[in-house]
Amino acid sequence: MKYLIIGSCIAAAGAVEGIRSIDPEGEITVIDGEQRGCYSRPLISYYLTGRRTSSQLDYRPADFFAQQRVRIIPGRAASIDVICKQVLLQDGTGLEYDRLLLATGASPVIPPIPGITQSWVNTFYTWQDAEEISAQTAAKGTAVVLGSGLIGLKAAEALHHMGMKVVMVEKQSHILPRLLSPRSAAAVGGHLQRHGLKVVTGHEVVAVGNHEVAVDDGSSIAADLLIIAVGTRPNQDLAREAGLQTDRGIIVDCHLRTSDPHIWAAGDVIESRHIVRGTDEVMALLPLAHREGFIAGLNMAGSRTRYPGGIFLNAVHILGMHIITAGDPETTGSILRWQEGERCLELTMQGQNLHRYIAINIPGISGPLTALIERQVKIPESEWFKFLRNPAIANLPAAYWAEVRRWQDDGSLRCG
């Protein structure tokens, strides 16, 4: 069996692990476009601050692909011939496959702002981006970060650590708009400002000049560095040009197979089921990418493992503040709150179902809450009151412990 994987990061690593757990013999080839091996993107902010060296960005040990007997082909895929089952590289090389995985990931969105393609403007997504920013960073200079999502926030933190003055510009009315509620965002924003970061919300950058950024309120910011972090978009051109079904991302079935029976897709490039909303979403999240890759790998090797989907979930620490949130970011339900100084917890309930939580500086209780959202365990609001007086694992509602016992008894949990 010839397995071919386009992409070499998280979903690809998962797929290799999945394939090898069933098929120790098959021939696996990975096309590595970035030619940096299997590294973890979220670590580039640690690289920028020097907390991680270039040899410590690996997602898997350096000899992982060799250990798994994977052939690595440096280069970029140019097209897929679904009839001859062959991938053509940009240099003209053809690679045949029996089973193909598209793990092509995503790319940063570049908003159509005049002047944005200048050399002092960078994205913050790849190892190479981090190297370029590192070379351009001037201590005591000013950096403007466009967007205040996770990538923007981690870029801002890294540049702040490097001694730069940082201004974040967010067009939505509050920072981390996809993750936080207005109230929790105010707490995070206050924390950033106390550390000396400037946060401008509700405003857009309208033009980029020579080391100058014009904002829609008529003001301008002189800057040495501009980082674009306004979101990512699936790299689905290959799939689309090959005639596979795509929408906002590549469309896959519950076995992560695309509309072509010999091609699977996983990771940031696909649309997958949000199990609370019941809708298909592009959820570019590392834990999901690995799981999808693993399950796609199993299925490429002959299994019929179902991928149930996932939920949005993020854990990030920023200048000493720990933010964890999971569930449906657009939920509108009744909100239960707990706060004690810098620590706060916000639960959003839809009837008896927990739909989202936001935990700031109280990470320890997040795991069970994630599980309750994923499994949509019904718990009446009144049963949360004890927990909300003192949010600790031991004070979780009785229904949670009943659920844990049930997982153990019927083996319904995928682990344990």
């Binding site: 991680r52 410590q56 690996d58 997602y59 834990p287 854990a315 795991g367 979780l396 995928r414 682990c415």
Partner: protein, 144 residues
């Protein structure tokens, strides 16, 4: 392998946690050194709920969500099936804490990394929580 906790026998004394903390972070099992001079942290929680108590510790899941979600590859499983954290690789993002359905993995006291039960894999003998439980409430069992 995992620790099985029998709540009928558990007295809720917490000695499991005391010996657990002393067995980690370089205290070499010295309870006095850990608790008089150090900042000990147990790798297990003690739950008291509806007149019962038990130890909340890692199941060392076969298909562990924490390993799957780890952004650095710090969470791994060894040949014996023990799920452990490579402290050198961990950056303390706490993604593993977020996905452990049992609330077992916890941040370290200074929040710089995650900590969890490693079944005392560095010791030749049985996990210290099992060997120090005064009422035989804890057992090390082979199945997952």
């Amino acid at each position: 392998m995992k620790i099985q906790s029998n709540s009928e026998y558990c007295l809720g004394c917490g000695l499991c946690r005391i010996y657990c903390a002393a067995a980690h972070d370089g205290y070499n099992g010295s309870v006095i050194r850990a608790f008089k001079k150090g900042t000990p942290q147990a790798r297990a929680g003690l739950i008291e709920h509806q007149q019962q108590s038990w130890i909340n510790t890692c199941r060392h899941c076969q298909d562990a969500p924490c390993i799957n979600a780890c952004i650095t590859g710090a969470l791994q499983k060894n040949n014996e099936g023990i799920v452990f954290i490579d402290g050198q690789r961990c950056v303390g993002c706490l993604t593993c804490v977020m996905v452990c359905p049992f609330g077992h993995i916890q941040p370290s006291l200074d929040f710089s990394r995650a900590v969890k039960c490693d079944l005392c894999r560095d010791l030749a003998e049985a996990p210290v929580c099992v060997s120090h439980c005064p009422n035989g409430a804890l057992r090390l069992i082979e199945e997952v």
